[in-house]
Point group: C2
Chain length 316, copies 2
């Protein structure tokens, strides 16, 4: 039986890769996109999926689209994602309202499985390396709103005899990552021969290439697993090591200025995952190693930078 | 300094009593009411508070009303409350979206304190007698949505340098309680001389008269307490005892048919509170004893029942 997926957030960084992975897997994909959205990231897929023009704030139109596409699975990725501002922006509240509207529209369909994309930021800050049984305690509006939607999604699905997953993303990197974020800012600085000021870099993180993230989300969606699932490699690495690996590969480790910037207030020392349900229950394995994934990403940036230090608008 | 309160849900069962208590306390109250709402429950207050016609779904109008009323405290009570259906109705999702809209509008004001009215249903079902440190784990859409809004409210207030309270209601009874609920259904049956079929009645609950609930909410709102506060007497009583006390007072204990109805699936054995922060930190005391509160409620129903067994529409 063909899996019919209703996907939100398909034009975003992670969403565009998820859309591609779902199409590759043979799913029938309906991707909700705002009329004003830049669909360049999924332009190559335009003959392989259905673009549904709409808005998560318009419940009636959403309901019609959902009934028409009659999904077996809903993958809900759309969220406010402006780098840095996303942790505290009031747009997070809008994302909650939009998610509530999505669920009410989903109630009109036979969809019995929902994959909601959450975040490692939902875990208790002092927790260190977490697994899915680790305590959840949001300390930002972003994390609170992600957790809020998960609570709704979970009970909504249960009440309808369905299942839901909170796919909690850790640090995602790869092609099309917004350039203000860590990996692309280091890569683009070094490729341009610019000095790259950084914090001390002893924050421990879990990095996964975005194509592996997309693969993991599909693995989760197609399975019958329910509850929280960490989308993570299960292997802590320091920010300094990541920067140094990029430095090595680009051949400009001399440009890295570790310790130049102060740590941010929201910058947890640890935000890592141990091997979790993705590994133990689904036996999922990433395709990329960290050096391999960074090499792939550096290559993508090389071909997408028109001028030294200048990023093409299409790539962000 | 006058406390300026923006109140949602003022025409509801609990809300109408909260509105009255705030007015008595000398607050300047702006009560948001839908244009279609029946304002009878607060008709006596019409010269003492400002009725703000509006809807939590209309963010722009809400913002204008909030800016105009410039509240120092927001007491957010509006919710979907249809007896029995409220636990699973999709209207709970709408209440979340409405609450997100309220917060975004509040961001335009200088309001630094929010009292959000939550529920004992948010606590872990196996918990028995709970206090505010007891684990929270929603198992219904209603409880999930209440918890979802609390997560948003708490982080929203913190991010603005303010404080928020989750006032978690336990079993509230008293004048204007919807007649389908336990206490009024027993009272009205017995007053009408009708047999009153009940479950075994060994469910343990915490009962508080609605005027005491309103008093407690005001005590919480005026204080600087933050986080969850149980609005409860801190004294467990069985449903059978409550029914028998009503039977004794009405003089018709013979009409009580305890054990006639099966227990409901959502009917937890224990949903009680120990003495909590209301008692230990705010030293708050209820005005009514349980027999006194039931006597007051029975008296109210006597004067509001036009015909035996027939409840005036004004009273529900």
């Amino acid at each position: 039986m063909t899996t019919r997926v209703f996907l939100t957030g398909a034009t975003g960084f992670v969403g565009s890769h998820v859309a591609r992975r779902l199409v590759q897997a043979g799913c029938q994909v309906s991707a909700l996109v705002r009329p004003t959205a830049d669909t360049t990231p999924i332009a190559d897929l335009k003959d392989s999926l259905t673009l549904v023009e709409g808005d998560l704030r318009d419940g009636d139109a959403l309901e019609r689209s959902l009934v028409a596409s009659d999904p077996t699975v809903c993958v809900h990725l759309a969220w406010y994602a402006a780098p840095k501002q996303y942790l505290h922006g009031l747009e997070n509240l809008e994302a909650v309202a939009a998610s509530a509207t999505l669920l009410r529209a989903l109630a009109r369909t036979g969809c019995r499985r929902i994959v909601f994309v959450g975040s490692c930021a939902e875990y208790e800050p002092s927790a260190g390396c977490v697994d899915e049984r680790s305590p959840v305690r949001p300390t930002t509006l972003y994390a609170a709103c992600k957790q809020a939607v998960w609570l709704m999604v979970d009970q909504f699905a249960r009440a309808r005899g369905g299942t839901a997953v909170a796919a909690r993303l850790f640090h995602v990197y790869g092609p099309r990552e917004p350039v203000a974020r860590l990996v692309p800012s280091v890569i683009t600085a070094l490729l341009a021969g610019r000095p790259c000021p950084l914090t001390r870099g002893d924050q421990m993180r879990d990095l996964l290439h975005v194509e592996d993230v997309a693969g993991a989300i599909w693995a989760v969606a197609r399975s019958e697993i329910a509850g929280a699932v960490n989308i993570a490699a299960g292997m802590p690495v320091s920010i300094a090591e990541v920067a140094q690996e990029i430095g090595r590969q680009v051949g400009r480790p001399d440009l890295l200025e570790l310790g130049r910037l102060p740590q941010g207030a929201d910058d947890r020392r640890w935000l890592c995952a141990t091997r979790g349900r993705l590994q133990t229950e689904l036996e999922w394995k990433p395709r990329f190693t960290l050096p391999g994934g960074l090499a792939h990403t550096i290559e993508w940036w090389r071909t997408h930078i028109r001028h030294a230090g200048r990023v093409s608008p299409l790539s962000t």
